[in-house]
Amino acid sequence: MKILIPLKQVPDSTVRVSVAADGKSIKTEGVTWSISPYDEYAIEMALERKDADASTVVAVVTVGPARSRDALRQALAMGCDEASLVVAEETAAPLAVARALAKVVEEAKPDLVLCGKQASDDDQGFIGPALAEVLGWAHVATITKIVPADGAAELWREVEGGHEVWKAKLPALATVHKSEKEPRYPSLPGIMKAKKKEIPERAFASLNVDSSAPALEIVAMEPPPARGAGKILKDGDAKQTAQQLATLLRDEAKVL
């Protein structure tokens, strides 16, 4: 089985994001970049398939700026077999990115495409369903488990109160909510191997996709409103403090 994961490089989840001087983008100086967390889950899910069946091939691709190469290298170090980069402006319209990824999928002919359910920069969650749409494939959203089933796959989708299990004929696409295990860290041999691997690169324009698509225009960005200093209750007897808090919530905050 061949699994392809389109990934995105985003500011690491531990980064304190701040707004740049233009008031409509984020400061990128000093930012640590990583694979988007849901894409890491997708990679882990694919690598777990590879652990179970060594003939599994796991490939990653990204459509993004040249710095994304580091994220691809990180994926190779985790244990992915192949990586390729399509260099594009960060302003490329989302639907055009989906079309570019569709070209890559059509060339690579994977059995399964796994996308993180959303990239933790724009948090749109558009690319997965849009890629399935451009390909004309079925997709299952927000899965947490894959069970291969003879030319098909059972895809477990987390919903309120449990899991829906869907069977998809391959090829198919799923967006990933979580893997069963936490994403693995690159091993030392993995890092050494990844260093030696070629990451072929091409320009977005060379894919000749229709780049006309409605764009979103960010007109302003701001940090979420700061929360004022709260009241701290301490050193009291538990019962009295509990009573005091309940009264505050009822009479002051009016939420009881």
Partner: protein
């Protein structure tokens, strides 16, 4: 302007977010509230039926709740129709032919104001639009899912044994979340009893869901759910940046932690420096009394 709202049902009634959208749509213009009828949500049958409806009626704006299914359907619909798409919108304003929306980015660490070209598709976060308690239930048009478009086969539903009877986390007005400070899943009755006393839902920090103490669906924060209840109570949660990203937009935040330097206190409106095992039972009792008097 013409607006099409795609409503969702839960336990027989319309979801609260659908009522919120219906109210907003009526305020903006000529609104149609639509419900797609099918055994269960599946992208292709739903998008196929909905896309035909949208092509026939040409609404300027299609609004869905930013729910699990709404976000999936909205994205695929926008891709099919080549419409602009904005997800998880928390504010919207229309002037002339321009739609301007507010939406969180970078897992809630930034709020963006975004101009969206119409015709558009947006999903709106539950709780983002205020809803008058007196709001009348809207008339709903039914649309049959196009089952001929289905390529998937539904195998089964595998339930998880927990919190089935409580309100859904994404739409809850009150959420009580537990963290590592609870020391183990066997102590979750503290969280659940308080949630029940407050009439709220139960959440958890990532440390807790990663440890398998609680199911993933209860995780609040980046890579979990982003929530905006009226009251968020954090019990034994230290307040990692990823957790804060998921809950700092709550109206009122209460934190209980025995570490006075815990980051959670930086966002709390009411912070209690105490041992959760001593404080929470007393607080649950006080809440019961306060609510009944």
């Amino acid at each position: 302007m013409k607006i099409l709202v795609v409503a969702e049902r839960r336990d027989g009634g319309l979801r609260r977010v659908s009522l919120e959208l219906a109210a907003k749509a009526k305020e903006l213009g000529e609104a149609t509230i639509l419900e797609i009828a099918g055994d269960r949500y599946s992208p292709l049958p739903f998008v196929s039926a909905l896309a035909k409806k949208v092509e026939a009626e040409k609404p300027d704006l299609v609004m869905l709740g930013a729910t699990l299914n709404g976000r999936d359907l909205g994205a695929r619909l926008a891709a099919r129709l080549g419409r602009a798409y904005a997800a998880d919108v928390t504010a919207l304003a229309v002037s002339g032919n321009t739609l301007e929306v507010g939406r969180p980015m970078y897992a809630g660490k930034v709020r963006a104001k975004v101009r969206v070209q119409m015709p558009a598709v947006i999903t709106v976060r539950p709780g983002a639009i205020p809803l008058a308690e007196s709001a009348a239930s809207p008339d709903v048009v039914k649309l049959e899912a196009d089952t001929s478009a289905e390529k998937l086969e539904f195998v089964k539903f595998a339930p998880v044994a927990s919190s089935g009877k409580r309100v859904s986390l994404a739409e809850a007005r009150v959420i009580v979340s537990g963290g590592r400070g609870l020391k183990g899943p066997e102590n979750w009755h503290l969280v659940e009893d308080l949630a029940d006393a407050l009439g709220g839902a139960v959440g958890a920090s990532r440390a807790v869901t990663d440890a398998g103490w609680r199911p993933n669906e209860e995780q609040v924060g980046q890579t979990g759910k982003t929530v905006t209840p009226d009251l968020y109570v954090a019990l034994g949660i230290s307040g990692a940046i990823q957790h804060l990203a998921g809950m700092t937009s709550s109206k009122v935040i209460v934190a209980v932690n025995k570490d006075p330097d815990a980051d959670i206190f930086k966002v709390a409106d009411y912070g209690v420096v105490a041992d959760v095992f001593e404080f929470v039972p007393a607080f649950t009792e006080a809440v019961r009394k306060a609510r009944s008097s």
